[in-house]
């Protein structure tokens, strides 16, 4: 029971963790991509389409990463190159992704009227560790994207906190003009981090369709991209904080399914609402602006 809960929590937390790590990297360079919801949705759809067409979950994962990068580069083109407003472009990407995946889904996959069943990402067992009671099966018998999230967290924390590259990236987030005056290519760095963030959000979407649900429905992300944004704030722009927030959220979602299965005398909508209420509560407790990159969301023009 506890083991199942933990395992389900990881599977449900991974889409958010991947998207949150990507967004965190992007926000540290001073860009706020609220289009991460749309990028995730695009990735989720591409994963479904790729896996359905080829019968291979790995092809789906690759398609999701490519789609995520493409959407993020569209965002980068509009905001970093053309200096359009980040919030508006992000909102536009969300609408566009919702509409486009809906149209394509109905045109390509939804014709049969039955729910789509997709090939799943296989669980990879780690011998030895797998035998640890309770946490063993939950932690060490998961699909590859769960491990990716776990490995990326310390890597990202190290790169951002302890390398020259990390320092340069963070300087873009706090004072891009000062960084530019030192000769740093602000736009190129931001475009690159957006592409990485897009790939991660796309993979987050893939982990939703190919592992957490094994199907695709319109609007499947259901606000998970926004929850990832909230998780970044909750984690105070630190990868470890993002990991904690995502796991918390994953566990809350897993609990929701357990409660629903237990058929308590509580309306199911209460459980559906739970993750969103929890996120709000978390935001209430963690004051937001305290450690935000100083130039977050600001338009940057080279003068």
């Amino acid at each position: 029971m506890l083991e199942d809960l933990l395992a389900a929590g990881l599977v449900l937390g991974t889409p958010i963790l991947l998207a949150a790590l990507g967004e965190l990297l992007v926000e540290r360079t001073g860009v706020m991509n609220i289009g991460v919801e749309g990028v995730m949705l695009g990735g989720a759809f591409a994963a479904a389409l790729g896996a359905y067409a080829t019968g291979s979950a790995l092809a789906g994962v690759a398609a999701a990463a490519v789609t995520g990068v493409a959407l993020a580069l569209a965002f980068a083109l509009a905001t970093v190159r053309l200096s359009a407003d980040q919030i508006i472009v992000g909102a536009a990407i969300n609408l566009l992704a919702l509409g486009a995946t809906g149209v394509l889904y109905r045109a390509l996959l939804g014709a049969t009227g039955t729910a789509l069943v997709l090939p799943t990402l296989p669980a990879i067992e780690i011998p030895g560790l797998r035998q640890i009671p309770i946490v063993g099966a939950a932690l060490f018998s998961q699909h590859a994207l769960v491990y990716l999230g776990f490995c990326l967290t310390p890597i990202l924390a190290f790169v951002l906190g302890h390398t020259g590259l990390g320092l340069r990236l963070r300087s873009l987030g706090d004072h891009p003009r000062a960084a530019a005056s030192l000769g740093l290519p602000v736009r190129r760095y931001r475009t690159a981090t957006l592409a990485i963030g897009g790939a991660l959000a796309g993979l987050g979407g893939a982990s939703l369709t190919l592992a957490a649900t094994n199907t695709f429905v319109e609007g499947i992300t259901a606000g998970r991209g926004f929850i990832a944004l909230a998780v970044v704030v909750f984690g105070r722009w630190s990868p470890w904080g993002a990991l904690a927030g995502s796991l918390l959220f994953g566990l809350a979602s897993a609990l929701q399914f357990q409660f629903q299965a237990a058929a308590l005398a509580v309306p199911y909508q209460v459980f559906l609402m739970l993750p969103y209420v929890l996120t709000l509560g978390v935001l209430l407790l963690s004051s937001g602006g305290a450690r935000a990159p100083r130039a977050l969301g600001a338009r940057y023009d080279r003068e």
Partner: protein, 298 residues
């Protein structure tokens, strides 16, 4: 016209918010809680003349209250309202879903929808045989009033100042925190009113899918309309025609109605990229706020 009414009001709601530097993405949720409160006010107890006034007031109040939550997060915790209003949208959706499946479900308990509003709670329909109702006129008037409020009154000036540059408005001695709360609440009230009018003017009852995303479309409408009341009216009529056309196309040609979302997204993206200069003036406040947050908050 019927389709344009909710779009006009939510469009005006977003216009007012954006002009004040408030990124209210939550018109959808405010619309839903407005519709929910209106249904409660319109179904509880017996019929009564003038009940429709109570129904509209309930909707506007609920919308304002819902938006005020996001205002509290922004002012008290410096949490960006883009995130909170979107989370609140989902919560509102599940609230409505619960209400029509539970306490507000129709007496016959057949479908997940509420009972019809009692007589007297519905809006006046002046033309026999037409579904045109009083709310249509209200929506036009409200949109023009919001435009006038922003451009002609002292409150409007303060709101626009807060939107253009919150630090400058603060230096000028304007009560920025209070003005922002007013902007959130008024914006929410308009969206809540839209929900109430939809229930009391068109559907007569509440059900889960009462809004096909009016609150999201409203963002595109407000921006396409250049954040001016005349422009918002034109944009709302344009999108209403678009969605009426989409439903017709879906019936006749099998073109899916989600295409409208894609068109809206593309429109919004185009505006954002093309109209950089004008938008920069409106959203200069964004930059100011990011700086303020880093400086240790208000």
């Amino acid at each position: 016209m019927l389709k344009a009414t909710p779009l006009l009001l939510t469009g005006a709601a977003v216009m007012l918010a954006f002009k004040s530097g408030v990124f209210n993405i939550g018109a959808e949720g405010q619309f839903l809680v407005g519709a929910l409160a209106a249904t409660i006010a319109g179904t509880a107890g017996g019929p009564g003349t003038g009940r429709w006034l109570l129904v509209l007031a309930a909707g506007a109040l609920a919308g304002a209250g819902w938006a005020a939550i996001a205002a509290g997060f922004r002012i008290g915790r410096q949490v960006n309202e883009v995130i909170t209003t979107i989370l609140l949208n989902f919560i509102a959706l599940y609230l409505v879903s619960y209400a029509v499946d539970g306490p507000l479900q129709e007496a016959s308990a057949q479908y997940p929808q509420s009972d019809l509003l009692v007589p007297g709670a519905m809006l006046w329909r002046p033309f026999a045989g037409s579904r045109l109702h009083l709310g249509v006129a209200l929506a036009f008037v409200a949109t023009l009033v919001v435009g006038a409020l922003l451009s002609r009154t002292a409150l409007g000036l303060r709101l626009r100042a807060a939107g253009a540059s919150a630090p400058a408005a603060r230096l000028a001695g304007f009560p920025v925190a209070r003005d922002l709360t007013v902007a959130f609440a008024l914006s929410g009230a308009l969206a809540g009113l839209a929900g109430a009018i939809e229930v009391a003017g068109v559907t007569g009852r509440l059900y889960e899918r009462i809004s096909p995303g009016y609150g999201y479309t409203a963002i595109a409408i407000a921006l396409l309309g250049g954040l001016r009341s005349g422009g918002v009216i034109a944009a709302a009529l344009f999108f209403a025609a678009l969605s009426a056309g989409a439903s017709a196309m879906e019936r006749s040609a099998g073109v899916s109605s989600v295409l409208v979302l894609a068109v809206q997204g593309a429109t919004l993206l185009t505006i954002a990229v093309l109209d950089v200069g004008a938008l920069r003036r409106f959203f200069a406040g964004w930059r100011g706020r990011a700086g303020k947050a880093a400086g240790g908050g208000a």
